[in-house]
């Protein structure tokens, strides 16, 4: 894969198949979401509540984590804490090894993607099988998800039909969606029945009851968390909510924002492992709480808002950049607007510093975000942090995008605009020499490579105003 965002974006923009796949999908998702929130007053009140519930939980996060842990342990769930993805991978591997597990069946989990868990397990001889249909498809293709809710949105039927024929025994080529779905059901049923453990994420962790809440449409999440004798869940520490009834407004927001469904087919609330006398369910449930930079982001009151995210994907569905370049262009686990603010914060601006610039700041994401994350403000903040770091300890790699020339240009601009005499001289000078500067001049070149260099007017605004008879500058 090409090394930076702009090169990958360039490739994606020149791929008509990819663009058609995304355009069709995004248009459908936007229309369906809009139909769910036709009543604007209700939407406004509901998202204000959703945002407050998440902000409230974040404000009490350390207390809620402790409360949750205490309840979960009392319910029989084993709770683990991981500071880094390496720690989380090690913990999951240790649990699996202790059970002699050789095969893990996985429900959809973005945190496990963040951990690159499959590769880690595979390196230690444990097979990880994705069971969400979309995830299964991209696992067959050896690709990463291109959308956080619909991982194989970049693929069309033909590509999927070919993958199935190549990878599933005795599978004839067919583009019939029901037949493809039935083929996957058959293959994965066998995998479920023979898996030693199931792995899942969690959408919400309820402090009040110590419960994990998982939502999905397919039933693979339920199977992964019920059929194998061992269930391991991985979740970010920001998934906490205070009360069980906090889940209700969030559920009224999440599926409707994500796919335009009133609710997902399954809402799966798990509170304990199999109790004595019960016939099924895992005998052990483990939860790994992952930090991976979240507690650092938490230290900044503005950036903390990033942690409200409920991973609905609405921001990417509505993003004019994402819908044209697709998810892989971002080169990170979380694409689109949320990825543009989350990835540079978790990984550091030094590693993903170009992402905050992959935006027009059009605000479409902010308008649809069900928990009112000020994505555009955070993008601007991160751009500033990259160039001129504040003292905030929350930003990793702050200052990594600093350029002495850029800094000097802005300082000069600031000085000119703050001083009437300098402004007069400066604009006058530009009206004379501005048009003589070639578009390919060193500092201009990058900008003019995709834009026409504007013409400077022959007269400055001041001159024009004076000619019109205004003399009170």
């Amino acid at each position: 894969m090409a090394a930076d965002f702009s090169t990958r974006a360039h490739d994606a923009l020149n791929n008509p198949q990819l663009r058609a796949n995304f355009r069709r999908a995004m248009d459908g998702l936007m229309t369906k979401r809009a139909a769910q929130f036709e009543d604007k007053d209700n939407w406004t009140a509901l998202r204000a509540k959703g945002a407050a519930i998440k902000a409230r939980a974040l404000a009490q996060l350390p207390d809620l984590l402790e409360e949750f842990e205490q309840k979960a342990i009392a319910n029989g769930i084993t709770v683990h804490w991981a500071e880094t993805t390496a720690d989380a991978n090690r913990i999951v591997l240790e649990i699996l090894t202790a059970h002699g597990a050789k095969k893990v069946i996985k429900g959809k989990s973005m945190v496990s993607e963040e951990m690159h868990l499959n590769a880690h397990l595979e390196a230690h001889g444990i097979k990880a099988v994705e069971s969400d249909l979309g995830e299964y498809i991209i696992q067959l293709a050896g690709e990463a998800p291109s959308h956080i809710v619909m991982p194989c949105i970049h693929k069309n039927k033909g590509e999927i039909a070919q993958l199935f024929t190549d990878n599933i025994e005795n599978q004839p080529y067919t583009e019939d969606v029901d037949a493809l779905t039935a083929a996957a059901r058959q293959v994965l049923r066998r995998e479920f029945a023979s898996a030693d453990a199931g792995l899942s994420g969690a959408n919400f962790l309820v402090a009040e009851t110590g419960s994990l809440v998982l939502i999905e449409n397919e039933g693979n999440g339920r199977l992964s968390t019920t059929l194998p004798p061992l269930h391991i869940a991985v979740a970010g520490i920001e998934k906490l909510v205070e009360k069980l009834d906090d889940v209700a407004p969030l559920l009224a927001l999440l599926p409707r924002s994500a796919t335009g469904q009133a609710i997902t087919t399954y809402v799966n609330m798990i509170t304990s492992p199999r109790k004595s006398g019960e016939q099924d369910g895992p005998r052990q449930v483990h939860l790994v709480l992952l930090d991976n930079g979240r507690s650092r982001v938490y230290a900044d009151e503005q950036l903390r808002d990033t942690l409200r995210c409920i991973r609905c994907g609405a921001c990417m569905n509505h993003c004019p950049v994402y819908s044209r370049v697709g998810g892989h262009t971002y080169g990170s686990v979380y694409p689109g607007p949320i990825g543009k603010i989350l990835t540079p914060q978790l990984a550091g601006l030094d590693c993903a510093g170009d992402l905050p610039h992959a935006s027009t700041l059009c605000n479409a994401c902010v308008e649809v975000c069900p928990v009112q994350i000020p994505i555009a403000d955070i993008l601007v903040r991160l751009r500033t942090e990259a160039a001129e770091p504040s003292a905030s300890p929350a930003v990793k790699g702050a200052g990594s995008g600093h350029s002495a020339v850029e800094s000097a240009v802005w300082k000069g601009w600031q000085a000119m605009y703050a001083n009437p005499a300098a402004y007069k001289v400066g604009t006058k000078a530009l009206s004379v020499v501005g048009n003589l500067i070639p578009a390919a001049a060193p500092l201009l070149k990058q900008w003019t490579s995709v834009r026409t260099k504007p013409k400077f007017a022959a007269k400055t605004l001041h001159q024009l105003a004076r000619e019109k008879g205004y003399d009170n500058e």
Binding site: L29, L61, P62, T181, N220, R222, L227, T271, E301
Partner: protein, 202 residues
């Protein structure tokens, strides 16, 4: 206690404290005719609804299942379904798995209520009706008392006092298993039941 835990909590506690905001007012909708709304919502996602009575539901069910060529049915003994091919899930999954994965055509479970707003059944698996019963067989039949349909989720959480006693597993089921992962084309029965039949007892 683990070092990671101590470090994470210490970092969170060292961060600036903010006053937790209050939850602003928002109320989920309520409905004049809850059964009507429930039926509309669940039918919109491919669910089937039959209104029956305590006296008629068994023969009615038998007819429906016969039309669907169902042979073997999974049901708890207390449901009093006494046809030939009815089996109970009365052994640990380890011994029952093979039969469950491919040997059962339909299963009947009770529900703890339903939600009109979203067309959702509240299913609480227990010793008699284990978790996989409503998941592995291709057809799921759910028995619902019409009086147990609440307006919305918040209402039923409160009315049934869920927070005080969460069971091992509690499910909201809103239609048969589905996916739209291939070109946003809906397909049913990808992992769970292909069909969901709700018998509403009036």
């Amino acid at each position: 206690m683990s070092e990671a835990r101590a470090n994470i909590l210490a970092r969170l506690r060292a961060a600036p404290q903010v006053q937790p905001p209050e939850r602003p007012y928002w109320q989920a909708p309520s409905f004049n005719d809850r059964l009507d709304r429930f039926r509309m919502m669940i039918e919109a996602v491919h669910g089937e609804v039959h209104v029956v009575t305590e006296q008629t539901w068994r023969p009615h069910l038998r007819k429906i299942l016969a039309e669907k060529n169902v042979a073997r049915v999974l049901a708890a003994p207390h449901l009093g379904i006494d046809w030939d091919d009815v089996v109970a899930y009365d052994a640990p999954v380890e011994d029952f798995k093979d039969q469950l994965v491919s040997g059962i055509d339909a299963c009947v479970t009770t529900t703890r209520g339903a939600i009109a707003e979203t067309g959702s059944l509240v299913v609480v698996p227990d010793v008699d009706e284990p978790r996989l019963a409503s998941l592995l067989p291709p057809i799921h039949v759910a028995l619902l008392k019409a009086d147990d349909i609440a307006d919305n989720l918040a209402q039923i959480i409160e009315a049934q006092g869920w927070a005080a006693a969460m069971p091992t597993n509690l499910l909201l089921i809103s239609g048969p298993s589905k996916t739209a992962d291939i070109e946003q084309t809906l397909a049913y029965g990808v992992h769970g039941p292909k069909e969901l039949i709700v018998l509403v007892l009036q």
